[in-house]
Symmetry: C2
Subunit: 189 residues, 2 copies
């Protein structure tokens, strides 16, 4: 059974589908020194049969360094057209090329196949976040197989805050996971 926040989220995705950037999410993690980091990522759907939100990332990026130190993350997802915000908190599992689990290994491989050529090509670029060198090569064709540093991220969500700014007063609901069940409470906005 899907988590109870999946239905309002699916509705928001549908109602905002004309905006390509309604699939962009801001993902907060914690740096090694305890300061927060925050960047835009692309929503890659939910993992089939689960409520795990899928993202992709380059294993050479700072995001992966941060997740190795602290797997906790909070995604903030604002839908401009319906004026709704979802905050999705949980732990991120990083699926790397050496993953022993055959199901997860397949999920990673399938995600690579689903990516657009433009998205795949970014993984052929030089080390992300490093100083850019003269004549750096950004024109390699993307490989058919995922490169070693291609990672599938699974955000395993245990807390969701849904805010509807259109309502007057605004409506805010909180969803909490305890083991396999969810509770829902209406909060003051």
């Amino acid at each position: 059974m899907m988590a109870p926040w999946r239905e309002p989220l699916a509705r928001a995705l549908h109602r905002n589908r004309s905006l390509v950037y309604s699939r962009y999410i801001q993902l907060a993690t914690v740096r090694g020194d305890g300061r927060p980091a925050n960047r835009t990522v692309v929503f890659r759907g939910f993992r089939q049969g689960t409520d795990d939100l899928q993202l992709v990332s380059d294993g050479r990026s700072q995001k992966l360094v941060q997740l190795a130190g602290c797997a906790a993350a909070e995604a903030c997802w604002y839908f401009p057209k319906t004026r709704e915000q979802f905050r999705l908190a949980g732990q991120i599992a990083v699926i790397v090329s050496q993953t022993a689990d055959p199901t997860l290994s397949l999920a990673r491989w399938q995600m690579w196949q689903q990516l657009s050529e433009a998205a795949r090509q970014q993984f052929t670029w030089p080390d992300p976040g490093q100083p850019q060198l003269e004549g750096a090569d950004f024109c390699q064709p993307s490989p058919a197989e995922p490169p070693d540093w291609f990672c599938l991220l699974l955000l395993q969500i245990d807390q969701v805050d849904h805010l509807n700014l259109r309502a007057d007063p605004q409506q805010r609901s909180s969803f909490q996971r305890r083991a396999d069940s969810w509770t829902q409470v209406n909060l003051n906005p």
Copy 2:
């Protein structure tokens, strides 16, 4: 003198001005238990004569609890029309009603006067984030003077990452503050 990232940011704000939500930013902070938090806030301009980004917040919110424990924050600002992202990292100074500094006290008062009636009214609502009670009162007129829990937040920025997704390959610049001067480096995207 303005920080060097102010000019590209001003340009992005101008070019995206037709979208009201181009003034919405995602602000990441760290919770007491070390997990990150992330929510949408409204850009309220820069404090005159400084590079400090202004936000407002309710002193009764979790954001303020988190900032009391860890002042570090990173704002992620995505501009949909020009496909640019600014990541602004720094420390947040919280200007409360008891602020002794007369200049900051005035800045807080002036910010209250500048807010729309709708924004002011939110500060009359019951405790944000608490379970909503039957018959809670959301209809009080907003006071002319800022309520005690009205806070002005000043994000004092020491690191900026500017990513331009429109360029091919994408362009990424990093700005670092050392005392009162800034250095700029081009990074691999």
